[in-house]
Amino acid sequence: MFKINDLIKNLLKSSGPSGGRSFKELFELFREILTLNSAILDQISEANQTLGGDFVFDKHFIETFVEDLSTNVQKLIFALNEMVPVKYDGLIDAYKKIESDIRAILEGRYIGVEKYILFYDEIKKWDEDSVGSKNAFLCQLQPNLNFKIPQGFAITFYAYHQFLAKQGLLAKIKEILNSMDKGECSFQGASKMIQNEILKARIPHDLKHDIKEAVARLKKQLEKSPLLAIRSSAYGEDSEHSFAGLYDTVLGVDEHGILDAYKRVIASTFNANALEYRKKIGFKEDETLMAVGCQELINSQVSGIVYSLNPVDPASDTLIVSSTWGIGGLIVSGRETGDTFFINRKNRKINSVQISWKTYKQKLIGKNKIETVEVDENLRAKPSLTVEQVKNIAECALEIERYFKKPQDIEFAIANGELVILQARPLKIKTGPNLHTKDLASLEQRYNVLIRDQGVTAQEGVGIGEVYVLRQGEDLSNVPAGAILVTKFASPRLAPLIPKISGLITEIGAVTGHLATICREYILPTLFNVSGAISTLKNEGLVTLDATDRRVYRGEVKELFFFNLEQEKIAESYEYRLLRRILRKIEPLNLIDPTDKNFRPENCETFHDITRFVHEKAVETLVNLHFSGINTKDASIKRLKWDIPLDLVIIDVGGGLVGESQIDSTTVTPEHIQSIPMKAMIEGLKCPGAWDSTPVSIDVSSFMSSLTRTFSAEHTDPKALGQNLAVISKHYANLSLRLGYHFTMVDAYVSKNITENYIYFRFFGGVTETERRNRRARMIREVLSHYDFMVDTRGDLVIGRIKRLNQEEMEKRLYLIGILIGFTRQLDVMMTNDVCIFEFKNKICQLMETKNE
C-alpha cells in the first residue's frame, strides 16, 4: 500500500532546475498543495472524532484511513518538490520514518522509542508503547493527581528486543515455542529451556552501559546508593487480559545486582504459567514484549494493597484495604493475610475490620539486605493502619479509579507517615445477574431524567458525581475532584481538570475542538451543546451522566455504574488503541513557528508537521518568486498601494485585476481589483471599525510599533516584509498574511456555480501567553460558527470552512473575514478574560449588521 520507491523515483525524475517552469504551472502546483492540505487536515480531524466511542469501526477502516492519508501526504511532498526541486529532500526521509513507524504499529511490530532507558519523570501517558502500561500508569499519578511515587526509571521494550535479538535469542525462543505448539514439549519444558537461555545470555554492552548510567543518575537524585525494586511491565498486560501475578518482581536489588535482576524479570516473561495463559487467550507470542521498572525501594513501616471495589461482591459497594508491617511483598505473594478493612465507598466509613495475627514482616537490614523477621510481640495483634490512614488510602484509591475510569488494584507503602503508590493496575471484577444490568431499558420508570437526548457525545461513558457549575472566570481549583462539571463553554482552559472529574457537560462546544480531544484521551464521559444545562443542573446534587445515551439522571443510577463495569472499556479495545497509537504519528503539530530555526524537514515528526511545513514553504516560494525574477510572463505581479499598511504583493493569474492599460506597471490600488473573493475581503478590511478604529482601549502604540517594525519601507528583503501575498483570478483568491506575529491564510473560490464555491480560512499565532491566544481563537470560532462556518480549533489554531453557498452569501462571509483580519491583529493582547470573547464577538456581529443595513 505504500509506494515509497515510486515516490522516490518520481522525485528523482523531477529533480532539476525549475527556472523554466511558468508561473501558471507553479500556481497549479500551489493550488494542488492547498487542496491536499485541506483534505489531510479533514481526514485527521475525522479520525480523531471516531475515537469518542460513538463510532463503530473495524481494522479495515483504520487501514483505509492510513492508506488514503499516506497517499495524500506523498502527493503533497511530490508537489512541493515539483515547485522547489531537491531543496526539501529531507521531507522524504521524515515521511519514510513516520510511514514505517505507522506500518509497524499496524502490523503489531512497533516497539516504541528507540532508547533503552526512560526516567519516570519523563514518561508520558502515551509511552505505554515504550515502557508498558504498568510503568506508564504509575508515572501519570504524580503529575496528574499529585501522588507520591518512587523515583526510578524504566528499561524499555526496545531494550528487551535488542537484548534478545543481539544474542540470537529471538530465533531460539521461536524454535522452542514452535515445538511446544506441536506438542513436542510441555509448557514447563519450553519455559525451562527459554529461561535458561535468557539467564545465561550476556546483556549487550551498550544496554549495560545505559543501565549503569541510569543507576548513577538515580544515585545522584536520591543522594545515596539506591536499593531497588525491579518490576515487570509487559506489553498488553493491563488491557482486556489480566496477567496479574504471572511475572517476577525482585525486591532489594543493589547496583551490582541490577543486571541479573533485569534478566530474571525478562526470563519470567516465559514462565510456564505465562506461556499457558497467553496460549489460552490467543495472545500471539510475537506480541510479547517486556519492559522493566527500576524503582527506589521504599523502606516502609507499613505496606499493603487496596482494591477500589470489592471484586467478588461489587454490589456491596465497598473497597478493601489489606495491610501489614514492613516492606511489601508478603501480602502480594500471599504469605501473610494482613489486616483487612472493608470501607463504604460512599461515605468512606469503615464497615468492618479483620485484624490478623502478624508473625512476620520484611525488613531492611543494614543498607541493602531485605530479610523476613519476626514482628515485635506488642505489634502482632495491633492494627497496622490507623482509621485516618485507612480513610486516606480509600480516598486516594477512588481518585485513581476515577482517573483510569476503572476499579483499581493498587500497591501502596507508608514511609515516615507518607503514602507512596508503588503500582496501580485495573482490577478484574466479577459481574453477575445480581447487578441488575438487564433492567436498563426501564430506567426512566425508576429515576428522574433531568436531561434527555440532548447535545452531542464528545466521549461516551457513564460518570457519577456531584454537579459543580463553574462560572466564567472562576478559579479552576474550586472544582472538587470527582465532580460532574457543568460549564457554558468547552474551553481549553478546563484541560487541567479533565483527569480529576467524573464527567463534563457544556452548553457550547465542538466535538472537533481541542478540549474534546483531551476528553477522549482521558476517556472522560463528555456531552457538549446541551442547551440550558446550567439552569437545569445548578441546584442538583448527585447525578449520573450517561454520555453514550445523552442523558442525565438525578441521583446515582447503580445499574448504569455496574453496566459500565461489565463492559470492556471501548477505548481499551484493540482497534481503538491501534487508531490512537497511529494518530500519535499523525496528529500532533510540533512545527509551529516558521521563523524558528527548528522549522526544518528533518524535524517533522508527524504527518501534520509535514503538511504544515509543505504549506508554509509553498507560500514562501510563491512570495519569493517575485523577487527572484521568475518567468512571470503569464502572470501580472503588483504591489498593493493602500492606506491600510497591508504591504501585499498581488499575483494575478487571470482576470483578477483590471486590464494592464489602466494600471501602473508596479502598483495597484484596491479599486483595480476585479477578483470577486479578493474584492469582498478588501471591503471587509475597509469596514469602519475593522482596521482603523480601536474597539476598546487598545495599546495602539505597541501595535503600530510591531507593524512598522515588520513593514518598514527600507526593507526590501521579502523575509523582512513578512509573507503577504495574494494570488488572484476573477473567481479565486488565496491570501497568505503574516501580520506581526499572526498567520492568516484564506483560500476561496466564488462564482455563479454554487457547487464550486468554498472558503477555507486558517488563523494562528500571537504574541501573548497561550491562554489569551486561545481566547482569541475561541472568539474567532464563535464568530465563524455564528456565520455558519464549520470550525475546527486546536489550541490557538482556528480552521473555518464553508462550501456551496451562492455568490452573494459567499461574498458576505469574505467580507466577515476581512473584518476579522483587521480586527484580530493584536486582539490577543486584550483577551484578559473569557467575557471578552463575547464582547468582541458581539462587536463583530454589529459590524456585519451595519453592512446589511
Binding site: 471516531t50 460513538d54 463510532f55 473495524d58 477502516f61 436498563l440 431499558a441 463492559q567 479495545s573
Partner: protein, 130 residues
Amino acid sequence: MSEKDISILILDDEPIVAKRLKPALEKKGYKVESFTRSTDAMERVRKQKFDIVITDLKMEGISGMEFLEEVKRLWPDTEIIVITGFATMETAKESFKKGVFDFLAKPFKLGEIVEIVRKAVEHKNKQQHS
C-alpha cells in the same frame, strides 16, 4: 412486541463490531446473540428464529449475501440489516433486492444502528397488526 421479546443476531467477522453493538442493543432491552464465524451463525439460525439479523457482507467461508438469503428462506419475516465496510451502490441494491430492511456503511455511529433497529421493530409490529 416490547423490546424484551425481540431477539437479535449479529454476525461480523471483526470481533470489535459485536463487542460494540451487543451491549448497546442490550442496554435498550433487546436479547442479543453475536457471532464472528458465519458457519456458527448459520447453524444457530437453522435452529432458532431471530426477529432481527444484523450481518456483514464480506466474510471468510459463507458470505454475508449467502447467509442472508438462507435466513430469508428459513424465516421470511426476519428483518435483516446489512453493515459493511465495502459499500458500493451495487451491493446496496443487491441486498435491497433480497429483501434487506436497511443497509449501513462502516464506520457508522452507534446511534444510527440503534435507530434502524428501532424502526425495524416498529415495522414488524405494524405488519403483525395489519
